[in-house]
């Protein structure tokens, strides 16, 4: 057991290492030059060359990579080319924002999605299912940036219910912090809830065919217990899989929402960094995301055995 865990852990490290190589090469394969972007108005070749030298971009690739890894292992992920801020500082500033957004989204979307899925499965073909289906369709078929725009115009500007954009750190004010994050979280959560709703509903319908559901009913269990405690519980593995994927996806994929709401998250950092070919930042972000995905997959594999004791994934 411990051995298996260690092996997986090793594989995880290897994955992160591979990711670091791939991103290192991939970002350099993109056309466009950070030194050029950085030189800005002055496209003077001498300046560009000087910047390249300073960034070490004139060195052979393997050397660049080894240097990067060497520093990274010592906790130094380099300095952002465009803003001159250390990448670790940037990550430290953006990660908490995105984490908070993710947690809120998971709470809003995850719970609502699973509940709606249960409702849909239980009252199959009746109005509660209709309602939850319609809601999920809205979540599925309206783009985030649209919902965001509508929320900003109506909820933000017209009704003044929430700040239009921006961010307040948690330690400054909890209320303001949630105020800034709740609308984006609801928007992101709408899609998550929709996806979970459909998945949960389908898997629960499968579970409802099982005889143990009858046996639980025969004990006199309340319907909520039958539905949540047994049918939902038995269909959780897939939902958790999806949740894990979405969790990782949110950590990096909320870029558009972050952009619109002016949230200083890691997704926006990443997008801007790719656009400006800010190599160290892109590398840093990818490393963070890789580590989080590896950790999430490990966690989920452990969760599987808890959720369904018969399952043994990954040997």
């Amino acid at each position: 057991m411990l051995r298996r865990f260690l092996i997986k852990f090793g594989q995880g490290l290897l994955t992160v290492f591979l990711a670091s190589i791939v991103v290192f090469l991939a970002i350099r394969a993109l056309p466009g030059d950070p030194a050029e972007t950085m030189a800005g108005e002055d496209q003077n070749p001498a300046v560009i060359a000087a910047i390249r030298a300073k960034l070490g971009l004139d060195k052979p690739m393997p050397e660049q990579y080894l240097l990067y890894m060497w520093h990274a292992l010592h906790g130094d992920f380099g300095t952002s080319i465009s803003s001159r801020v250390p990448v670790s500082t940037l990550l430290g500033q953006t990660l908490p924002v995105t984490l908070q957004l993710t947690v809120l989204t998971m709470v809003c979307g995850g719970i609502v999605g699973m509940l709606m899925g249960s409702v849909g499965a239980y009252w199959r073909g009746q109005w509660p299912e209709w309602l939850s289906s319609v809601l999920s369709l809205v979540g599925l078929s309206v783009p985030h940036f649209w919902l965001a725009m509508l929320a900003i115009i109506y909820v933000g500007t017209t009704m003044h219910l929430f700040p239009v954009s921006g961010y307040t750190p948690l330690r400054e004010s909890l209320g303001a912090n949630i105020g800034h994050l709740i609308v984006p979280a609801l928007i992101l959560g709408s899609a998550l809830a929709a996806v979970l709703m459909r998945q949960t509903r389908a898997n629960m319908l499968d579970a409802f065919g099982a005889e143990y559901i009858l046996a639980v009913r025969a004990k006199g269990a309340s319907e909520s217990r039958v539905v949540i405690g047994h049918a939902l519980r038995n269909s959780l593995v897939v939902a958790v899989t999806i949740l894990g994927l979405e969790l990782g996806g949110l950590l990096s994929g909320a870029a558009v929402i972050e952009q619109i709401f002016g949230l200083p998250g890691i997704g926006r950092l990443a997008i801007n960094a790719v656009f400006s070919r800010d190599y160290p930042v892109v590398q840093g972000v990818v490393l963070v995301v890789a580590v989080s995905y590896v950790a999430i997959s490990l966690l989920i594999d452990v969760l599987y055995t808890v959720l369904d004791p018969r399952i043994r994934v990954g040997g």
Partner: protein, 297 residues
């Protein structure tokens, strides 16, 4: 002896219900499912025939007719900020969006399902597939899309491929855990005892029993892909102009949310219609394949 055995509990048999007949009957009897199928058929037809049925070329700007409201003569659904006919653009857009959606789902399935099955069944395959998806996921979808678009230039195909590949992990992971779960069940042990090879177990035992999850995945990925394309369009990485896509139209309309809401409403409604029909069809399929739960009708 046999005669005695057969003269048993009474039943009034209809036509012999083979699984396929059962499936077809359940499908046909599902009003919503058939409705969805019909709508999809019309949508596909509209998309395919768009060069013929569209009243205007989709990309032709006409600066004399910008921001016409829906209902204007000659422009039934109005025009956009460049004076282009929204009806024509939606017709072409449906085609593009369906292409993106179908292509993305196909890619995701063709790669994800076999890989997930193998990963659920074999340890080595699992290591490769799981770590592979971790690696893939380490690159945030948008970063990957931007990267690909930067190298190859944005296009419909690339958007679809990027979205499809982006959806592979979710199919793969779901398939993997479903495989692992189903493989641990007694009827698979029974199949193994009969000498069923892994291939047969995966295709005849795991797949049908994971069908529910898979169908749902497909119906969720489809709108996801159509919207994903709109996000890519929003970032300028979508389909090439002047060809419209529904997502791209939405992205363009965002700036005119207050000024010309119909620019968003029309393609938005088309997307909702597509999503609605795919999801309804998916539900109907799932229900028709589900032999355990019998409909109450």
């Amino acid at each position: 002896m046999v005669a005695a055995a057969t003269a048993r509990v009474g039943s009034t048999p209809v036509k012999e219900a083979t699984p396929w007949r059962r499936f077809r009957r359940r499908m046909i009897r599902n009003r919503f499912g058939m409705g969805a199928l019909l709508v999809l058929f019309v949508l596909v037809l509209a998309g395919v025939l768009s060069p013929i049925v569209a009243p205007h070329p989709p990309g032709d700007a006409n600066f004399a007719t910008v921001f016409q409201r829906p209902g204007t003569v000659g422009y039934v659904l109005g025009t956009d900020n460049l004076g282009r006919d929204i009806l024509s653009r939606v017709l072409y857009g449906i085609r593009a969006s369906l292409e993106v959606g179908v292509l993305a789902v196909l890619i995701a399935f063709v790669v994800g399902v076999p890989a997930g099955l193998l990963a659920g069944a074999f340890r080595t395959a699992d290591v490769i597939a799981s770590r592979g998806t971790d690696l893939l996921l380490a690159f945030p979808f948008l970063i990957m899309a931007i990267g690909v678009a930067a190298i190859l230039g944005p296009s419909l195909m690339i958007a679809a491929v990027a979205i499809g590949i982006g959806a592979v992990p979710s199919i793969l992971r779901v398939m993997r855990v479903e495989t692992a779960r189903i493989i641990s069940l007694d009827y698979v042990t029974a199949a193994r005892a009969q000498g069923a090879g892994t291939l047969r177990i995966l295709s005849h035992y795991v797949l049908p029993n994971a069908a529910s999850s898979l169908i749902v995945r497909a119906t969720v990925i489809m709108p996801g892909a159509i919207l994903g394309e709109s996000t890519l369009s929003f970032l300028g990485l979508g389909i090439q102009p002047p060809m419209p896509s529904l997502g791209g139209m939405l992205a363009d309309a965002q700036q005119y949310a207050e000024q010309a809401p119909w620019m968003a409403v029309v393609p938005g409604a088309a997307i909702v219609l597509i999503c609605l029909s795919f999801n309804t069809l998916g539900d109907a399929l799932r229900d028709a394949l589900d032999v355990q739960v019998v409909s109450r009708d």
